[in-house]
């Protein structure tokens, strides 16, 4: 069930009506939201609802045991936490990485003369498994570190299943959402207005900008890079940068907006990332809920951050980004993407430390351009189906592409790429400023305005709705 569809619209109207009608009892309201979340997830594959429930019960039980082991000392608490983390990683490993690692093992064995058939399982990847397992792990670590208390099964199950964030984030931590579950939410006019603005804005970014650039330019060019001109290859590389931003930030905007209409507050996940003047800044603006997760739980908690010297800090950065790349999927292209980001992040730290006294800093505008192009280079590996396709793409780009190839890029695609980039240089709080004006409108006026805007978006959208890019992760 995709957000920008009429089916989801009807589903949401029903959930909105029923859950607010049940606001007299917070417990019943949460149960209804949980059932709605399972229906939403079950629309992909009912079998995986069981996996979601098992995962929630596992994390609820492990967190309870961590608190019950308080009197047994730190060793017991840590052991339970580590077993819980291992169980979460096992779920992720079986469903996402089993075949990948077995294929790599098979290749290694073949290389040393022990070629044999590997027992591959061709497992179907449950939608959103990377998101809800990361959410479960952060909950366990937070309970272990005494940042939050272990909570009731209903609240933990809802935390992990709540449909606005379930399949593609943001990764909402227990410390953000669990306190909100303790009380019946109140829908303020501010929340509702901003929620509506985010939903309509996300719909435009996804259905118009991302879908049009994807189907008209990026997909055909990446499908066969060798048969396209350098101009098309360049346009598709920029186009994918805009597409992935408009696709993923649209999902986040809609998720935040939908949660707001149900009375819950989700954190910001994107903050004009292509205006970053360094890669470090880029990761403070892009997929903030994942980058802050990796920083807090992997880079600092697990690897030690900068606590063990500068060289170790650089290695930790590289390791964090490599694992961050692997989080996106079991493919070498994601690992290379992570290595590129980790390597440049480490180089930025080294340059900051070793920069000669008085050596001029890069002007901010130049820093933005350089950073953006490093990110675009990474996106080529991220988008390519294989390492070979990525190198063919780069080879075509640097070698001038196929001579005489018919141009695929259209004036509309160029205009949408320019529009997508302009979002990054618009006033930072433009959406909030619009909401501040709209909140004073009478309901019929805002309703008519929303309808006209949705009608305009629908008239411009590409036929059909492609799944969000991050559904595959």
């Amino acid at each position: 069930m995709l957000f920008p569809t009429l089916t989801f619209g009807l589903f949401f109207l029903l959930v909105f009506s029923v859950t607010w009608a049940a606001r007299g009892s917070n417990e019943w309201r949460k149960i209804l939201l949980l059932l709605a979340s399972w229906v939403f997830y079950g629309a992909w594959d009912w079998r995986f609802v069981a996996l979601l429930i098992v995962s929630a019960v596992l994390n609820w039980g492990a967190a309870r045991l961590i608190e019950l082991a308080e009197s047994h000392g730190e060793g017991s608490r840590k052991a339970i936490m580590l077993m819980g983390i291992a169980a979460n990683l096992a779920i992720l490993g079986v469903f996402k990485y089993y075949d990948f690692f077995l294929e790599q093992l098979g290749a290694i064995l073949a290389g040393v003369g022990f070629e044999r058939d590997m027992p591959l399982m061709q497992i179907v990847l449950p939608v959103g498994v990377s998101f809800f397992t990361f959410q479960g792990m952060s909950y366990l670590i937070d309970v272990y570190k005494r940042r939050i208390h272990a909570e009731r099964l209903l609240d933990i199950t809802l935390l992990m299943s709540f449909f606005p964030h379930l399949v593609a984030g943001p990764i909402v931590r227990g410390s953000d959402l669990l306190p909100q579950f303790k009380r019946t939410p109140v829908l303020t006019r501010d929340m509702a207005t901003m929620g509506i603005v985010l939903i309509v804005w996300g719909l435009f970014k996804k259905a118009v900008v991302a879908s049009e650039i994807s189907t008209g330019l990026v997909d055909p060019v990446f499908f066969d890079p060798a048969s396209h001109s350098a101009l098309d290859l360049l346009a598709a590389a920029y186009g994918y940068a805009v597409q992935i931003y408009c696709d993923f930030s649209a999902y986040s905007d809609m998720a935040i907006g939908i949660a707001a209409l149900l009375g819950y507050r989700f954190p910001l996940n994107f903050d004009q990332p292509y205006r970053a003047a360094s890669l470090q800044e880029f990761w403070r603006r892009w997929h903030i809920s994942l980058s802050s997760w990796l920083r807090d739980y992997l880079y600092i908690d697990a690897l030690g951050g900068n606590r063990n010297g500068f060289a170790r800090q650089c290695v930790n950065l590289l390791a964090t980004m490599l694992l961050g790349g692997l989080w996106h999927g079991a493919k070498w292209t994601f690992v290379i993407w992570g290595a590129l980001h980790g390597g440049v992040l480490a180089l930025e730290r080294i340059w900051e430390r070793r920069r000669p006294e008085g050596f001029p800093r890069l002007p901010k505008a130049l820093g933005v351009i350089v950073t953006f192009h490093i990110v675009v280079l990474g996106w080529i590996f991220f988008r390519a189906d294989s390492f070979g396709q990525a190198t063919a793409y780069l080879g075509g780009l640097l070698g001038g592409g196929m001579p005489g190839a018919e141009l695929v890029v259209t004036p509309l695609a160029v205009a949408l790429i320019a529009l997508g980039m302009s979002f990054h240089f618009a006033p930072r709080n433009l959406g909030q400023d619009i909401a501040l004006r709209l909140r004073w409108l009478p309901a019929p006026a805002l309703g008519a305005l929303v309808a006209v805007t949705v009608m305009i978006v629908d008239a411009m959208r590409f036929e059909g709705v492609a799944p969000f890019i991050y559904y595959q992760f």
Partner: protein
């Protein structure tokens, strides 16, 4: 709520001192009614894509009739006009005649 996790939901102004739930329900109800009139083609397409069944056939027929009515009274025209303009923009190419132009040309 920890403030280190900002959210776009936190508007930078004094909150409106008025109930939000009824107002939001009103916004959504009006939006749905307007969309039924202005965008009936989407409803028709959605009904046509549902899994075939007797109920789906009745729904598809009803939405087709409703679309015919909105077109007859003219409320569907703005969307149809905008969609045509968008399709023309999609078909425009750099420095070449579009396939549409080629068929029109003598």
């Amino acid at each position: 709520m920890p403030r280190e996790t900002p959210s776009p939901i936190d508007l930078p102004a004094e909150p409106v001192d008025a109930p939000g739930l009824g107002w939001t329900a009103g916004v959504m109800a009006i939006a749905v009614l307007f969309l039924l009139a202005l965008n009936a083609v989407s409803l028709r397409d959605w009904a046509a894509d549902l899994t075939p069944s007797p109920a789906q056939a009745r729904l598809a027929e009803a939405t087709e009739s409703w679309l015919g009515f909105t077109e007859a009274v003219g409320v569907g025209k703005p969307r149809a006009w905008l969609h045509d303009q968008w399709k023309k923009a999609e078909n425009a190419h750099f420095g070449a005649t579009t396939p549409e132009d080629a068929t029109i040309a003598p």
